[in-house]
């Protein structure tokens, strides 16, 4: 019994082998006085640190301003989301999905609903599908606005953050009108959506699209092509295409490295097949325009461009939406027939996969989430050595992790 209660021996502290690369600057200069004996400084960046976007802890080893190693520690926000999924009823789990990636709750609802629907094999009404698409894309814009705005904060530009919040506020007001919540929506349900859009809502979404297109140019001119911003982000944190594939990166992280992979087009779900075939939107890719392929600027650029692509998708959906039912024939107490399914969707941060297995009961037998932030954050340990302390902040910001989802 005592063995269970006593904590296990802490593992041997992993010494980080300092690569030769870390001792040299990115420009290739060796500028350390090697005859002066200095010791590296170990700093805890986080869990309380403004640049870690939550409660991520990164143990950073530095030699002066140069980072020679970094270890990411996760788990400060662990809430047993997956285990809860195996203990509550199918529908009851939906609000929990809101809470892992709280910046893109619509997409989380969507992923889970699609997975359960895949097991059930239900038909989704057309209007519900289009409403889902509109909400998911609006939410993608909101999520990218946060990613972009806080990235500005990381680099030291305060003002774009407030501009981003101004538009996000409108987006949240739209969601408030359709489902009553501003952050944790639970709007997309198994079988469809919770309720129909209120009168005039679709018109307002159209107005939002018009205004957003103007504002988007503002962000672009103010920050994306700002000289200091480009200097700070280009050639920093370069992820080569091979590395991106090896680390299993998805979403803007992958596309920033120039790999043309978008689940919406390549493994289509809902109406995305139709949308992709109609050529409504393009998949923006990093091209190494300002520096090297796969640097921080490319990732930011991909996110900023994706906002405009989302606007195009929303406009297409608004163009062909018709009246009709918004939820399929789903019983109040849901019993899912035995079976299992994995559905991956294109979350703003990458592939959000839900694997659900049912044994025919009211509760899932297994509920497993493949979170994009969790997979994307792994690349940090590779990227951090050899950068400046300020660059490490830029790199962490460019991965755009949401700690609620890495820890779940």
């Amino acid at each position: 019994m005592t063995e269970i209660n006593t904590p296990p021996e802490p593992p041997e502290a992993k010494t980080i082998e300092i690569p030769e690369k870390a001792r040299t600057l990115p420009s290739g200069e060796r500028e350390f006085m090697l005859d002066v004996s200095t010791s590296d400084l170990e700093v805890n960046m986080g869990p309380q640190h403004p640049a870690t976007h939550g409660v991520m802890r990164i143990l950073i080893r530095t030699d002066g301003e140069v980072v020679t190693g970094g270890q990411v520690h996760l788990g400060y926000l662990h809430r047993c989301a997956e285990k809860i999924g195996e203990n509550v009823e199918w529908l009851q789990y939906l609000p929990y999905t809101d809470r892992y990636d709280y910046l893109s709750a619509m997409n989380n609802n969507l992923g889970y609903s699609l997975a359960v629907e895949a097991v059930m094999g239900v038909e989704i009404p057309r209007r519900a599908t289009l409403l889902r698409t509109i909400c998911a894309e609006l939410n993608r814009i909101g999520s990218h606005l946060i990613a972009f705005g806080t990235y500005g904060l990381d680099i030291g530009a305060f003002t774009p953050f407030f501009y981003c919040f101004r538009e996000r506020e409108w987006m949240m007001a739209l969601f408030e009108k359709i489902c009553g919540a501003r952050l944790t929506y639970s709007y997309i349900r198994i079988g469809g959506v919770f309720n129909d859009a209120p009168v005039g809502w679709l018109k307002e979404v159209e107005r939002f699209c018009d205004v957003f297109e103007e504002k988007w140019q503002e962000y672009y001119d103010l920050l994306v092509v700002n000289h200091i911003f480009v200097q700070r982000t280009a050639k920093i944190g370069v992820i080569t295409p091979e590395m991106a594939v090896d680390y299993g990166l998805t979403g803007p992280m992958l596309r920033g490295s120039g790999i043309d992979f978008d689940l919406r087009r390549d493994m289509p779900y809902m109406a995305y097949d139709e949308i992709s075939k109609a050529g409504v939107y393009d998949v923006p890719l990093g091209r190494g325009e300002k520096g090297e392929l796969g640097d921080c600027w490319d990732r930011v650029y991909v996110r900023v461009q994706e906002m405009m692509e989302s606007i195009k998708i929303i406009r297409w959906c608004l163009g062909c939406i018709e009246d009709g039912p918004v939820i399929g024939d789903i019983p109040k107490v849901l019993k899912v027939p035995p079976g299992e399914a994995y559905v991956g969707i294109e979350n703003p941060r990458g592939e959000l996969g839900h694997y659900v297995a049912s044994d025919g009961g009211k509760v899932a037998k297994r509920c497993r989430v493949r979170g994009p932030s969790f997979c994307n954050v792994a690349v940090l340990e590779k990227l951090l050595p050899g950068t400046f302390l300020a660059d490490s902040v830029a790199i962490i910001g460019s991965t755009d992790v949401v700690i609620g989802e890495t820890d779940r």
């Binding site: 400084l41 700093v43 904060l153 530009a157």
Partner: protein
Amino acid sequence: MNLMALEAATTGNAFTELLGGIAPEGTPTWALWLGAAGAGVGILVAFVSLVAMFSVWLERKVSAHIQCRYGPMYAGGWHGWAQTLADGVKLLLKEDMIPLGADKPLFMLAPALVLGAIFGALVALPLAPGFFFADVNMGLFLILAFSSLTTIGVVMAGWASNSKWSLYGAMREAAQVVAYEVPLGVSLFVPLMVAGTFSLTEASAAQSGWFGMHWFIFQNPFMLPAFIIFFIAALAETKRAPFDLPEAESELVAGFMTEYSGIRWSFFFMEEYAAMFLMSAVGAVFFFGGYHSPLTALFPEEATTGLLYQLVCAGTLIFKSFVGVFVMMWLRWTLPRLRIDQVMSMGYKYLTPLALVCVLGAAIWETIFA
């Protein structure tokens, strides 16, 4: 400071004359001097506090309006004018915290040193012809020396805090100030050559012609590049964005101020705004005519000793300084932050050589045309 120096420093000072007028007959001269010095210090402290308070309020309003917000709106009624006052009271009443393991004496000394240095620097600033705390004939030297002293306070604070983030901030501050003192000083050689004096009083007085527009900046083609270099270096010197690396909040939490709280923290804060004002005022004196403007030129020769003229002069200089402060705020809320190596290379590789070129060009120009 011995009495001779005190006499030299306070002769011609408005306070000495004022006190001499109201003091009873037979008051020893040293008492007058001491009284004048005391009154000067009191007024200086009040002045710096007011400037810092107004600047903090201004910064909050400027940043708010740049960011589509309102900023403080309630405290005091009109556009939250009393917000800084309320914040000051709050900061005064906060718990006095010194982290465990901090170097206590240094930790307590650092904010005092930083703020004291900026008071010292402002002594040499003439607000109007007869409105100064001390007419130091090496005034610019005094100001630069005192404003470098704040760096020592910052490094002290960073080291004494016993926090790694603070240490980083201190290291950055030291590196940055060493890199930017040089262009700052060298770029000021250009107006010094035109003015022919280190005294801010004399430099201001020398720009009175052309209906109050005989500013140094119009007198030499190398003045404008010198001013731009001066302004950039002053931004780095006062730790303002895009050179706010010592306190870079997204990287170093709050840099050297991480462990400070309460009134000690507000000392650093006040120093920052006082330093912004000081640097803008030095720029105004050596480039933009000091207290001269078309408005002050309206006064006839015989009215220039009157109080109204002095007040208009002081108002002019304060207005010019706040224009500089406003530009600094505008830059801060617009630009991202530079990286330390970019800051260093900008200081050493570009600004210093450019400043030297300006000095050379200005010297040639002065030799040929002046």
